[in-house]
């Protein structure tokens, strides 16, 4: 998967426009990246990429690039 596809996927998870999701965007600037959004992201990573993370793993993420890094580490991102 290419980075722009990953960003589009993240946008879908957080119900945001793809144009609004950039690697540098901090968590605080994404309204749906709240406690429920964290669980939704966990579920999405699990269902779509077979990546299982804990709530603590998720809480450590502070920006979109942290999500991209997870995908890279699991070989899902070119």
């Amino acid at each position: 998967m290419k980075q722009d596809e990953a960003l589009a996927w993240i946008a879908t998870v957080f119900e945001e426009s793809p144009e609004d999701i950039t690697p540098e965007k901090p968590r605080g600037d994404i309204p749906s990246w709240d406690s429920l959004g964290v669980l939704g992201l966990m579920a999405g990573l699990d269902t779509d990429f077979d990546i299982v993370l804990t709530a603590e793993d998720m809480q450590a993420m502070t920006k979109v690039d942290d999500i991209l890094e997870v995908l890279r580490k699991h070989g899902k991102l070119e």
Partner: protein
């Protein structure tokens, strides 16, 4: 109207699948408004039926993570009208089941035909949040009935 939208559990595989039933009677006040001369079960109540059934399926595992609560409606479709007094059969299959969340694919049938479907996302709330002694009567009735059968 009590907000208990599952009357009886027919089949249960804790944490995996459930089949249950519900009938909303024509005398329920909501049908006076939904709609005059054309009473039909609101789509949101069909969705709640599915959520309550799937929740019971998760709760039946008696996992210490807490009680399953609906966190998000991922999708919902309404294909057929459901009228009062029609027995609704509710099906739920748990797709993901983790310590922090669960997802379920659900549908309801009337007369053997699918009337509505939904994909639901659940979170878990510690049991201490609820009233002391709170019991899910419908779930307990099924579990105790099954336990008696196997004794």
């Amino acid at each position: 109207m009590k907000f208990v939208l599952v009357d009886r559990i027919l089949e249960l595989n804790p944490g995996k699948t459930i089949v249950a039933t519900k009938v909303l009677r024509a005398g329920e006040e909501l049908f006076r408004d939904h709609f005059p001369g054309f009473p039909v079960v609101p789509g949101v109540l069909l969705t709640e039926m599915m959520a309550q059934a799937a929740g019971k399926c998760l709760d039946a595992e008696q996992n210490p993570r807490g009680k399953a609560m609906l966190g998000k409606i991922l999708s919902a479709t309404f294909k057929r009208w459901v009228v009062p007094d029609e027995p609704v059969v509710i099906f739920a299959r748990i797709e993901s089941n983790r310590s922090d969340y669960a997802t379920a694919k659900c549908h309801v049938e009337v007369g053997g035909k699918m009337a509505s479907s939904a994909e639901l996302f659940f979170v878990f709330v510690p049991k201490e949040q609820f009233a002391p002694g709170y019991v899910d009567d419908v779930l307990e009735s099924y579990l105790s009935g099954n336990a008696a059968q196997h004794e």
